[in-house]
Symmetry: C2
Amino acid sequence: MRRSERKRQDPDLGMLTGQLLFLVQQELFETLAEQGHPHVRPRHGAVLAYLDAEGVRATELSRRSGQRKQIVGTIVDELVELGYVRREPDPQDRRAKLIVPTEHGIDEITKADAILAAIERRHEEALGAEVYGDFKRALRQIARLQRAWRPEPSPTPRTADH
Amino acid sequence: MRRSERKRQDPDLGMLTGQLLFLVQQELFETLAEQGHPHVRPRHGAVLAYLDAEGVRATELSRRSGQRKQIVGTIVDELVELGYVRREPDPQDRRAKLIVPTEHGIDEITKADAILAAIERRHEEALGAEVYGDFKRALRQIARLQRAWRPEPSPTPRTADH
DNA sequence: GAAAGATAGTCCTGATTCTTGACTGTCCTG
DNA sequence: CAGGACAGTCAAGAATCAGGACTATCTTTC
């Protein structure tokens, strides 16, 4: 059997997660567009998904989302422009600003959560609650294990690589 | 409890697949770099992952990977430049060209497959063969179900939206 | 077998997203 | 209070993707 056919019958973890992520994002953002949020794009999720009603610092959003703070800055610019968040001075630290969702932003966050919950509920009904629960548990654990990956503690730090 | 804390304890399907994809890609391409392929990037996977030893047409690669054929064209340009594939005329169709992996390309494909297999084997050992098998089966099925998503056959095509 | 439409691959232009380095103002530690 | 760390921003460039258009070839249809 040709390799590509074998791969198509048993796609690896990377292909599967990539395809699933793409499809879930597609449903999420098309549905959000139908529900009054046609201008939010996947990249905005890096900020919106990690907000709190009382506000979060940009650096904290950067840490949580894995995006660099410059990216978070431009995303927040866009979301301010679109009316989803506003910047407020942080009373704790005059360098920092709190990113606070507006009412429109809270509506988007609520709807996005509901859409994702609906997607998961659909799959839960198709597979059965127990099977889906096991799946989700395994997925969480695998993501955690994969996070712990590092090739080596690098015994020779920047010595022979020139 | 604040929403972001709840989300961190029970991240949704989108966050989990996104994080896992990123982490798996990171391990894959860092390891490939250590194994003699420092110039392949994630985007090249859209071509390399779907090749066959006997060659595949660019349009077929576009269909399989979901990338537009312009993208596939530029990726093939890069891979030719890097010595991973070459273009051969398709004897069946003078418009078409077969994208054929070189020896170097086959080496990359083999190593990439092995790295992914090693990742999965690691998780399989951590979770147990049965649990991991169930997980992979569920993941395949959920990806298939999600592929079937469409909002509606659109009963009112472009009428009241202006 | 000639005309009409479909398909394979490429070119080009612009938008989007990310990377990198540097900079100002504020905080913290000794 | 001096030195370093940190929050956020500015700016330049690379990487990636989207869209329209074009040529050459194939396929269908009359």
